[in-house]
Symmetry: C2
Amino acid sequence: MGVKSGEGEEPGRRVGATLRRATLREVAAEVGVSVATVSNAYNRPDQLSEELRERIFKTAGRLGYAGPDPLGRSLRRRRAGAVGILYSDRLSYAFTDPAAVMFLQGVSLAAEEAGLGMLLLPGGPAEGREAAAVSEAVVDGFITYCIDHGDPLVGSLVGRGLPVVFVDNPPEPGGAPTVGVDDRGGARAAAEHLLNLGHRRLGVVSFELGAGPVGGLIGEERLRRATHANTLARLAGYREQVEAAGVPWSAVPVFECRENTPEWGRRAAEELLRLRPRPSAVLALSDQLAFGVYEAAREAGLSVPEDLSVVGYDDVPEAARTSPPLTTVGQPHTEKGLLAGRMLVARLEGREARTTERHKTFRTRLVVRSSTAPAPEGS
Amino acid sequence: MGVKSGEGEEPGRRVGATLRRATLREVAAEVGVSVATVSNAYNRPDQLSEELRERIFKTAGRLGYAGPDPLGRSLRRRRAGAVGILYSDRLSYAFTDPAAVMFLQGVSLAAEEAGLGMLLLPGGPAEGREAAAVSEAVVDGFITYCIDHGDPLVGSLVGRGLPVVFVDNPPEPGGAPTVGVDDRGGARAAAEHLLNLGHRRLGVVSFELGAGPVGGLIGEERLRRATHANTLARLAGYREQVEAAGVPWSAVPVFECRENTPEWGRRAAEELLRLRPRPSAVLALSDQLAFGVYEAAREAGLSVPEDLSVVGYDDVPEAARTSPPLTTVGQPHTEKGLLAGRMLVARLEGREARTTERHKTFRTRLVVRSSTAPAPEGS
DNA sequence: CTGAAAGCGCTTACAG
DNA sequence: CTGAAAGCGCTTACAG
């Protein structure tokens, strides 16, 4: 573009920059043309002579004007040029979860295709603040990730009247487009794999189940009050398969972690491995947690998979590189983000439904590596 | 908040939502008050009677009005409520680099503190498009990450006249605040460690050096035309230390990778390990690349560290968990992001310089784990 | 090829 | 406690 933005090439510039950005109006006045013409110089080069356009850019450069202010333009054009991303938890947690990061990467692919920015909203349980963020976000639409059923944010979101795509076990409010995964089926496959290997003493390392005091082995009542959709689906899948094998669900200890980190996985496994009889296999709701289970096993002098089988969930890249390589449930994180992004872009560009389905549930698949083995004798 | 946003509680709402969002003006007309009063109902509850406020919210709910439009508000208030993040490369690449992700996490911490959103700009070499993204971003300021010296984007950025914080080997344009790391010192420490262990046949696995045809073993000329600041600093550190040990730099093969992924690290190492005499140690510019070197070594039947020592860079979490645990150069990724975010917020809130220094260079530190060992006999 | 006018949706002194 | 007026910075038909 011919937009001048060099530094200090004109003596007058520094002053202008120090004070306040020049405006379209000021440039117009200085050149002696109307604001429409200056606007055209930037937006419709064919609407004015090359010579005048050059003169306008020169004056703009001198005044420290670097082109139309995005805010004014956005208001007038009624488009913000960005998609808002709403995460279930504090935004900073999203970056510690490799699965969430891969999802965001997928969205970024779609955003790049469409030339849109991604606005990550400060989320989390900061009471009211996230609602403010939602109602103040300058975006053209939203993508939500792992939002709970009944989360009050959904109300604020829908209230904005902007297109929304809900990702991962979504509440499907008013028929909005959704992208999800067969979480329950994935969990079932994980449990089935262990049961087929002869394991009967299982332990589960779970995410947070919902609001309230968290952490530690949990009972029926807490399980019943769970609200986190992903967690619920996976636990339901484990349970279904376990019971189908004739093992009572109440015999399976479930440890609830406060955060999805290896550190919490380690704590959980430490506790599970202290139980007698000791579990011969652990189902972790994520690979991050499973990595922590590895640590705890090592510290307890148990080897994986000979003494303890471990199954993760997510199939993040590290799962293939860790030692031993982790058996886990794979799901297409990046594709989820990409599809959600494209669905949103399609709606923004007014070509809906035709090119994209409105609801998509991706399949999960069990990836068997080396962290699982037949149950030890007599277990 | 008292903002109504439920779905379909009033028969009239659906119609309004289907057509177009109601505006402040329409609500005011419907209630029979001025727009100022409706605005006050949302922004200054003390400026009107509770009873009138309730009536306004009720009518707003009926019309499908969910509160003031962020764009109008932002224009009027002259603040966007978001910080823009500009990455050196395509935005989607940022999510594949654990170091970049940790950096983003740090920024998100600062953004959350301040109640700001993070706008990730579509970047990369899409010719002109990124400049458009910069000049159209609705933000209050920018943070750049790993931008090259002389990148034309810097011009567009500075032209916006908004506060900017430059992170990682920044071009320091016009005394703007910077956050960096002693990359050169870190690289020196890595090389020194290997040299102290007796290694004399080293190989380097490098990032891309700049624009142009990329990939493969490279010569002096390409090294000279390098523009990527991080890469340059690290290579300079290696070189310095190598030459200090009396080894000519020209004797150290450097492989340039197109992407910062284990896959490219593997390719690089495959080639390096084919050289005769074979390197006894590899310096990788990132842990991601080092993980790929592990793979190549394994495939070549070499064990780390007995046959091949490997040093990474970044100390991402996986480095401690991988097998063998990776010797690497640690740097405070999250802290860099957090500090940069806070520096920017400080400027936005008009309290500069007092609370924060304007330039910060974090120290790196060598983390010695188990991927390095004394050079094999006779090498 | 250029300009006058309307308006995107809102907030903020200020006056009453 | 409420309202009239100005204006944030811009773009877009439309008329000339």
